[in-house]
């Protein structure tokens, strides 16, 4: 009978066959190589879909590739110099990106914590909790184009529900949500936040349900209020998930643009005029509208550098080294 510390039966058979053929097989080598052999297909997939495109993008960023990607002309750091010296649109893109990332992060990393606490701690009825989770998961499972179309109908000044609902509560109902800042920027934040909040909610919900129930009982016996339980039990024990969600969402938001592209379709000028052209969308426009693949790649690489800087900052803020010490609970 095989156990987890021996080779699988088919592999034992394979090794015996090779021995019969009198190959000198270093079994210890095979034992060490086996895990890598198993992950090779997945590693190949990662190479093709992630590592290779990253390398190609970095290479492209040092070229003057325009119109077609097969005609590359090395140009050194010219694209990077252009970002900082000649491009008049990057600063507005940077400003919008800072606004976008910081605002949506509040929703994705911190509002989602409130949501998770709501559905796992406050709402005892599992059906109600499931309904709340579903309501927040629907945007995530809806294709981006459909999601954008639904928002377009929702904000339409003639037939959309949003302005009608706002008027019912005597709130200002702007005629134009799409092109007038700050309404267009509020829309951008809400549209993306509604999608992103579900990620944090799922991670945090799983983490909260893993907290040993005894801690809650003990707190209840000690007379702790709900706020005290959240502050002194739940949040401290969720430090690792909070760190993970914050970093993940920051990197994801820095490079996301698909919902903005879908909602503000019409060319680069439209998003820019509406004040919602984030850096990633600007890089996309340069590459695919203006066919300046080299320059678009340079803008994308710059985003990667910013992302790496953020990782270092978050590691410091969250005390990564301290967090790597053995955890007190299974999370």
């Amino acid at each position: 009978m095989s156990n987890i510390f021996s080779f699988p039966p088919f592999f034992e058979k394979f090794v015996r066959k090779l021995k019969e053929l009198k190959f000198k097989i270093p079994v210890r080598f095979l034992r060490k190589a086996l895990p890598y052999i198993f992950i090779l297909p997945f590693f190949g997939y990662i190479m093709l879909t992630w590592i290779a495109p990253v390398i190609i993008t970095i290479v492209l960023s040092f070229t003057k590739t325009q119109w077609t990607i097969t005609r590359m002309e090395f140009s050194g750091l010219e694209n990077y110099f252009r970002i900082f010296t000649r491009d008049i649109f990057v600063f507005s893109a940077l400003r919008v990106t800072v606004l976008y990332v910081s605002s949506v992060l509040m929703i994705n990393a911190f509002f989602s914590l409130l949501l998770a606490i709501l559905v796992t701690y406050f709402v005892r009825n599992e059906s109600v909790a499931a309904a709340i989770r579903l309501a927040w998961l629907i945007p995530r499972i809806t294709p981006a184009v459909i999601y954008a179309l639904l928002w377009r109908w929702f904000i339409d000044p003639r037939i959309g529900l949003l302005n009608k609902m706002l008027s019912m509560f005597n709130l200002p109902a702007p005629h134009d949500w799409l092109l007038t800042a700050p309404y267009s920027q509020i829309l951008m934040i809400v549209v993306n936040g509604y999608v992103g909040a579900s990620f944090g909610m799922i991670i945090y919900s799983a983490a909260i349900t893993s907290i040993p129930r005894e801690l809650f009982y003990a707190a209840s016996i000690d007379g702790a209020s709900d706020l005290q339980v959240i502050r002194h039990i739940i949040v401290p024990l969720l430090k690792w998930p909070i760190f993970f969600v914050t970093v993940w969402q920051t990197l994801s938001l820095i490079s996301s643009y698909e919902h903005i592209l879908a909602l503000w379709a019409g060319g680069a000028g439209v998003a820019r005029a509406a004040g919602v052209e984030v850096w990633a969308l600007y890089a996309y426009s340069r590459a695919f509208y203006s066919a300046e693949y080299g320059y678009g790649a340079a803008l994308s690489v710059f985003l990667v550098i910013i992302g790496l800087v953020f990782i270092v900052i978050f590691f410091k803020i969250f005390g990564f080294e301290r967090m790597m010490q053995p955890s007190k609970v299974e999370v």
Partner: protein, 494 residues
């Protein structure tokens, strides 16, 4: 020798000499040797061409040729794809007459496109993957030529020069870039200014006044300001929601006020992009006045869906529409009207009028822009000559008529204009042709960075219409942004 014999011989000799002289005088002059050699060489050339063509055609014998074509446009432009299939039949039959049995199959794909960036991305992805079609339309000609996606067609245009004389020569000018021809004209688009006759009736206009409106626009008696005042009146009386609609993204109809003011976006001599500041100011002032001063144009036009725009005008909620001739056909084929669905043409004649775009000032000349839609032959095509011929045969009068009548684009061939089915059904197009021939201008902007300039123009159009910047501020900002973006590829004129 007797005297008689002597006179006889002399007479014969004189007779021969006179005869020879007469013969020389009346005989056709021989060809000079140089000319003879030139003619002989041309004849030999023609012979070798015929021989090589015959050999080429022989190589096609019993061959099966598949041509793929991607066409795009509005919901009613599907004949751009269908006509290529019909063209294949013509070419097959022609070749059969020459004794060449060949089967040509055209796999023609048509897409209703509203996001041309996505259409281009689709083509580029296919091209890079080696799966590009043989024939493509709807991409920017300059970009495609620079990128090497399409081939120049001069060789085939020269080869079939006699056949191609049926297409107006000015259309061939519009498909030239850097001295070479890159596309085959497929139809002619003309911008058209539409108005709602039923709304004017409700305003108290008589039929004569309504029918006289186009001629007053053409004479310069009615300008944009006059129409804005009419629109304001209609809005104030609650007859329409808005006075004007324009397209939701950058296009030629938005450029017309700039051209009316005498501006150019492209300098033919230098091949550079141009900004005429005073014309640009006039253009942005017009849109500013319509949106902010008269308040007859929504400030949210850019980014509005096409469907909403067409439904607004077709259902009489908007008085004036800055459109194109093809919209006449689109309204008949797409269900925009909330009761009627697709508009019968009788309804259009009864309730919708059309004219060229008005002048900016009294006494000025109105204007429409005209330009061809083009087929291109992709550089990876295995049968570029066949593809070229298909593009040409696709506009044979019966097919040109089908496309023109269905889509309300102007025909591309001279011979179509007199083709009986076109004469019978082409009433609207005749009228458009009348003012297009008088007030039409062709303004191709053949520069690879035109897209970047359009983005900047669009950005500031949004800001001007929203009142965030004045026209003066917009012009200065556009010039600064364009200079930074285009460098020495831009000429700025005061």
């Amino acid at each position: 020798m007797s005297e008689k014999t002597t006179y006889l011989i002399i007479g014969i000799i004189v007779g021969i000499l006179i005869g020879a002289a007469i013969g020389y005088a009346v005989a056709p002059k021989g060809v000079p040797l140089e000319e003879y050699n030139a003619l002989k060489s041309e004849n030999d050339q023609l012979k070798s061409q015929v021989t090589s063509l015959t050999q080429e055609l022989q190589s096609l014998k019993n061959k099966y040729i598949k041509i793929t074509a991607w066409s795009a446009g509005s919901p009613v432009d599907y004949y751009r794809a269908e006509n290529l299939k019909s063209a294949a039949k013509i070419l097959e039959n022609l070749l059969r007459v020459l004794g060449i049995n060949v089967t040509i199959e055209v796999d023609s794909y048509y897409e209703h496109v509203s996001d041309w960036g996505a259409w281009k991305s689709k083509f580029v992805a296919a091209f890079e993957a080696g799966e590009a079609p043989d024939i493509i339309s709807g991409i920017d000609m300059v970009e495609a030529a620079e990128a090497g996606w399409i081939i120049s067609l001069d060789e085939y245009v020269n080869k079939y020069e006699d056949l191609l004389a049926d297409i107006p020569s000015h259309l061939w000018d519009a498909v030239k870039y850097k001295g070479k021809i890159w596309g085959v004209p497929q139809d002619v688009a003309s911008q058209v200014f539409y108005f709602r006759k039923d709304v004017l009736r409700k305003l108290g206009w008589s039929e004569d006044e309504i029918n006289a409106l186009p001629s007053k626009i053409m004479s310069g008696e009615i300008t944009w300001d006059d129409l804005a005042a009419i629109a304001k009146e209609a809005m104030d009386k609650g007859l329409v929601e808005w006075g004007f609609y324009h397209r939701p993204n950058w296009g030629t109809s938005l450029e017309i006020p700039y051209y009316l003011a005498g501006g150019e976006f492209y300098d033919l001599e230098t091949g550079k992009l141009v900004i005429d500041k005073s014309a640009l100011k006039d253009m942005y002032t017009l849109f500013y006045k319509l949106a902010q001063q008269y308040k007859v144009l929504p400030t949210t036009m850019i980014g509005t869906s096409w469907r909403e725009i067409h439904m607004g005008f077709v259902n009489g909620r908007v008085l004036f529409w800055l459109g194109g001739s093809w919209h006449w056909g689109e309204w008949q084929k797409v269900e925009y009207h909330e009761q009627l669905g697709k508009l019968p043409e009788e309804y259009e004649w009864e309730n919708i009028g059309f004219a060229p775009y008005p002048a900016l000032e009294k006494g000025g000349t109105p204007l429409v822009t005209v330009g061809p839609w083009k087929y291109y032959v992709v550089s990876t095509s295995k049968y570029p000559e066949i593809a070229f011929l298909l593009c040409f045969f696709a506009s044979t009068p019966p097919y040109d008529t089908n496309h023109a009548i269905t889509s309300s684009h102007l025909p591309v061939r001279y011979s179509t204009v007199n083709y009986p089915p076109f004469v019978e059904k082409g009433g609207f197009l005749y009228k458009v042709s009348t003012f297009a021939s008088k007030y039409g201008v062709s303004k191709p902007v053949l520069h690879p960075k035109w897209g970047s300039l359009k983005d900047i123009l669009l950005e500031y159009l949004v800001k001007v219409e929203k009142g965030e910047v004045t026209p003066d501020q917009a012009v200065e900002a556009i010039v600064n942004a364009a200079k930074a973006e285009l460098g020495d590829q831009l000429l700025v004129r005061e």
